[in-house]
C-alpha cells in the first residue's frame, strides 16, 4: 500500500501499521468534529472530506442511539456487507479523542481488525505529542492577490 497521507505526522506510522496488519483497504482517522487527521486508500480529497463528515455524524448519532437503547453510548460500529465490511470506532490519545473508520474485505476479518485496532490505540497513546504545535502563519507573499484570483476563477468577478 502507499503511505498514509496525514495532517499530523505522528499518526503516520501507526496508521501504516494498522493498514498493513489488519489488511484494510482504506481508512480515515479524524477528529470527532469531522476534520481528517490521516487517511490511506483514497485519492480524492473531496471523498475524504465527505467520509469524515458522515463518520462524525454517524458517531454522534450512534452514541445517542446507544444511550437511548441501553443507557450507554455506542463507541464502536461494524457493518458486514456482502463483499466489504466497515469498522468504525473511537480511540483516545491522552485527552484527545479520534474516530477511525476502516474498510476491509475477505482478506481480513472483524476479529483481526479489532486486535490491530487495539495495538493502534496503544501506539497513538505512546506517540502523541504532549504539547500542541504552535500555529504558523502562512507565507504572506501575494496572498491577497492570489486569493482574489482564485475566488474570481471559482465564483466569477463580483461587484
Amino acid at each position: 500500500m502507499t503511505d498514509p497521507k496525514v495532517v499530523e505526522p505522528w499518526v503516520a506510522a501507526p496508521l501504516k501499521r494498522l493498514a498493513e496488519d489488519a489488511r484494510l483497504i482504506s481508512g480515515v482517522l479524524l477528529h470527532p468534529s469531522g476534520r481528517a487527521v490521516g487517511q490511506f486508500g483514497f485519492s480524492n480529497a473531496a471523498d475524504v472530506m465527505s467520509i469524515c463528515a458522515l463518520t462524525s455524524a454517524i458517531n454522534a448519532s450512534s452514541r445517542e442511539l446507544g444511550r437511548q437503547l441501553h443507557g450507554k453510548p455506542f463507541y464502536e460500529m461494524h457493518h458486514a456487507g456482502g463483499d466489504r465490511q466497515v469498522f468504525m470506532a473511537r480511540c483516545m490519545a491522552g485527552a484527545q479523542e479520534f474516530l477511525f473508520v476502516g474498510v476491509f474485505d475477505r482478506e481480513s476479518s472483524l476479529g483481526l481488525v479489532e486486535i490491530y485496532f487495539a495495538e493502534f490505540q496503544k501506539a497513538l497513546e505512546q506517540l502523541r505529542p504532549h504539547a500542541p504545535e504552535p500555529a504558523k502563519p502562512l507565507p504572506a507573499g501575494d496572498f491577497e492577490g492570489e486569493l482574489n484570483r482564485s475566488l474570481d476563477s471559482l465564483f466569477g468577478r463580483i461587484g
Binding site: N44, A45, P137, P139, L154
Partner: protein, 200 residues
C-alpha cells in the same frame, strides 16, 4: 479551526450556513453545487427527512485552488434550522472557521431570525468560540418576495447585524447573492489565516 497541513501544503476550512428553519440554507448549497464546475466540487450530501427538511446537515466539499502554494479546500455545511435540532447544530458548529447567517427576509420571520442568531451565539460560546470575532457574513434571503411581505434591509441589518459584518441581499432560489456571500466569507476566513497572530 482551519487545518493547515504544511507537509502536503493543504488548507481545509469549515464554513457553516446557519439560520432559522426554511430560510434557504440548503438552497444556498444547492445553488453552489449546481453552478460550480465538476472538477472543483465533491458530491453534495443531504441528510434530510422525508419531507426534505434537513435532519442532520447538508455537506458540500469544494476546491478553491492554490493560494500561496497551498491547495485550499472548503467544507460547506448547513445546520437544521428547526428549534428542536439544537444538539445537531451544536455538533455541526464544532471546528467552524466561518458562518454565513441566512436570514429569512419575511416580516413574519423576524423573531425567528433573532432567535436563531442568539442560538448561534450561545452555541459558539459553548464550543469555546468568541461570537464577537468569529468570521461572519449576513445573507438576507428571499428578497424576491413581494415588498409588502419583506422586512426592509435597513431594519434587518439593525436587528441582526450589530457587528457590522458584510451583508448581502439574496434570492437563493435564483442564485442572487449566493456566491457573493460565499466569496465574502471565504475571503475573510482565509485572510485571517495569513496573519493569525495579528488577528487573534
Amino acid at each position: 479551526m482551519s487545518v493547515v497541513n504544511y507537509s502536503t501544503r493543504e488548507i481545509t476550512c469549515k464554513i457553516v450556513y446557519y439560520g432559522p428553519g426554511r430560510s434557504g440554507k440548503t438552497t444556498n448549497l444547492q445553488q453552489i453545487y449546481s453552478q460550480l464546475p465538476e472538477e472543483r466540487k465533491g458530491k453534495m450530501m443531504s441528510l434530510a427527512t422525508d419531507t426534505d427538511r434537513t435532519l442532520f446537515f447538508d455537506f458540500l466539499p469544494l476546491d478553491l485552488g492554490t493560494i500561496s502554494g497551498f491547495n485550499t479546500r472548503f467544507q460547506l455545511y448547513t445546520v437544521p434550522g428547526q428549534v428542536y435540532y439544537a444538539a445537531t447544530r451544536k455538533l455541526v458548529l464544532q471546528g467552524v472557521d466561518g458562518v454565513v447567517f441566512v436570514a429569512d427576509s419575511q416580516m413574519r420571520q423576524l423573531a425567528e431570525n433573532v432567535e436563531s442568531l442568539q442560538d448561534l451565539h450561545e452555541n459558539l460560546a459553548e464550543d469555546g468560540f468568541d461570537p464577537r470575532t468569529m468570521p461572519l457574513v449576513m445573507q438576507y434571503n428571499k428578497r424576491d418576495l413581494p415588498p409588502d411581505e419583506l422586512t426592509p434591509i435597513d431594519e434587518l441589518d439593525e436587528k441582526l447585524n450589530f457587528r457590522g459584518v458584510p451583508f448581502f441581499p439574496a434570492n437563493a432560489i435564483s442564485g442572487g447573492g449566493v456566491f457573493e456571500s460565499l466569496r465574502s466569507i471565504a475571503s475573510i476566513v482565509l485572510a485571517r489565516l495569513s496573519a493569525p497572530a495579528a488577528k487573534s
